[in-house]
Amino acid sequence: MTEPILVIDHLKVDFQTDEGTVHAVDDVSLSLAPGEVLAIVGESGSGKSVTAMSLLGLNRGPNARFTGTAMYKGTELLSASNDDLRKIRGAEIAMIFQDPMTSLNPVQRIGDQIAEQILAHEKLSKAQVRDRVVELMERVGIPRAAERARSYPHEFSGGMRQRVMIALALSCSPNVLIADEPTTALDVTIQAQILERIKDLKEETGTAIILVTHDLGVVADIADRIAVMYGGRIVEQGTVDEIFYDPQHPYTWGLLGSITRVDRPRGERLPSIAGLPPSLLDPPAGCHFRARCPHEFPKCLEVPPLEDRGCGHADRCWLTVEEKRAKREVRPGEIGLANKEEVAPV
């Protein structure tokens, strides 16, 4: 395996609030190889976005506390000064955000907003920047790019705005692209287009991608590896095939079971995981999924370790492999790789 470009080690993120400390991310370790697509999957509040934001220090603040390390090319991102981080933001690690409707400055021209990032990192003439902006916009599939660069965000549709966000993120050819729910706010057809575009760009540029999403269906097609997060912890981690064909954690089973599929019998209710995600303000002892898990047993009161079953496929569950095989409702092979046509918002 190649040397990873980004290594997150024992990341913990706590936020002090009026009600107490929120343990948003609890002991997350991940690594990203150059050119690899790593998907972080989990529901709202699982800590996936916080993990992503922490890498660029976008959630730094007087109430946030970070421990652990995140090494990127010899720089430790969590403790890096704002100035050092500024040089990495946009240039080395770029980010695409969830809601393209609000992520662009409403009173600045699209072209100027892309140019701003280029000029923050490179010394180029006005004409060079303009050419680069138009080229970027063309690359992400915006028609009449030269003309559209002079438009304002409100003159673009949601899908077009997300393309602008992608163009913005790619403008300095970053080594790592963090896409935080890039398709959640978009229509299903537009989702597919945007994912297709991200996939193409990954092939063209070789950028490593961290794709944060709550939708397992979204990642099937594009990711190399998947980390499933629940209650601030990684509960299972492995390659796409391992997660889809040999899921180990009961939460992953639930996630896989709740994907809409064409081959599911008509009229059947889409299964969902009963209950609500735990409050990270005062998380339950032991396994965070315990309260919603149909297979809970006394041992679950202790926090299960993230145990590697070899070759990087790891999970955080006390059940033995044999028990899991017996209890797994989603049997290997039953769940096909979800194609993007089947993708639907959960």
């Binding site: 400055n105 701003e116 923050a120």
Partner: protein, 317 residues
């Protein structure tokens, strides 16, 4: 744009029409006594009063009196009841003073309001933010006539650092003297607005700073200062501009009655206040119409500036 301006001009005429009718009618209704009696003086005969009534058209039906008066307003030939001077000439004398006061104070309150609001927002929750909050509340709570009187008494009269009221024209005393005479009135008038503006801007900034596009800006790798100025401040300032236009229109339209009177600037506001004291209808009417004109005019300018600052806003729809 053209249609917008035409619509605004029609609106302006309607507003001025309504304001003039209201002002005119108020003076018909309030128990102010008969202007003819006051004009005739103490030792007048009924014949004299009747003659005055006749010359000043007081016997005509109200709508004819209104039309007659408005004609005079717009031809600049309206005459004051109390001292028989031409009202427009008096206003023209006062306008430069009122403008000097209004423009200077508006610049001061905008600059101070924006810088203090920005500083307060950046230091939000800290000691300097709390201190500025208290100061702003004190500034907002102090009436202009009281602050003005204190300043005038201590800084002007007692310590003699500043002139004790009055106005000097640039042509007369030079630029230095002009500013010297205006410093106290500018400060007194600006204090209230600085408090209001800095508070509003502070909360606007704190709202904007959590917006998604500010996070995008940070993720670009530009400096925090650039994030603040290019993204946060620009978007937070847009509502402030509206307020500024309205307040400025009010002040130059003769609304700074108290400041002008306390510092004896002899501007339009003071002229207005004195006319009310004498129940002198013509100056009150003309200044009110002028004030309405400035407010509507500034409103229009604000809308145009607004559309330039925020591309989402289209004029005319």
């Amino acid at each position: 744009m053209g249609r917008f301006i035409v619509r605004r001009i029609i609106g302006m005429i309607l507003v001025m029409f309504a304001v003039s009718i209201l002002t005119f009618l108020i003076f018909q209704v309030i128990p102010n006594g008969d202007p003819a009696v006051r004009m005739a003086g103490k030792n007048s005969t009924p014949t004299q009063i009747a003659a005055i009534r006749d010359t000043w058209h007081f016997n005509d039906p109200i709508y004819e009196q209104y039309v007659y008066t408005m004609k005079q307003v717009f031809t600049g030939s309206l005459i004051s009841y109390s001292d028989q001077t031409n009202v427009w000439q008096e206003i023209k004398k006062g306008l430069p003073r009122t403008f000097a006061l209004g423009i200077g104070a508006a610049i001061i309150w905008m600059v101070l309001g924006v810088s203090l609001g920005l500083y307060s927002a950046v230091r939000s929750g800290g000691f300097s933010d709390r201190l500025l909050t208290v100061l702003a509340l004190i500034g907002v709570s102090m009436p202009v006539f009281w602050v003005g009187a204190l300043m005038s008494y201590y800084l002007g009269y007692k310590f003699g650092w500043f002139p004790n009221g009055g106005y000097t024209e640039i042509a007369q005393g030079g630029f230095g003297q002009w500013i010297y005479h205006l410093i106290l009135p500018w400060t007194a008038l600006a204090i209230l607005f600085v408090g209001v503006y800095s508070r509003i801007l502070r909360s606007n900034i704190l709202d904007t700073i959590n917006d998604d596009y500010v996070r995008t800006a940070r993720a670009k790798g530009i400096s925090e200062r650039q994030v603040l100025i290019r993204h946060v401040l620009r978007n937070s300032l847009i509502p402030i501009i509206t307020l500024w236009g309205l307040d400025f229109g009010l002040v130059i339209g003769g609304g700074a009655v108290l400041t002008e009177s306390v510092f004896n600037l002899q501007g339009v506001g003071q002229y207005f206040a004195e006319a009310i004291g004498r129940l002198d209808v013509p100056p009150v009417l003309e200044v009110t119409i002028l004030g309405a004109f400035f407010i509507v005019l500034l409103n229009t300018v604000v809308d145009i500036v607004y559309a330039l600052l925020d591309p989402r806003i289209r004029l005319g729809s």
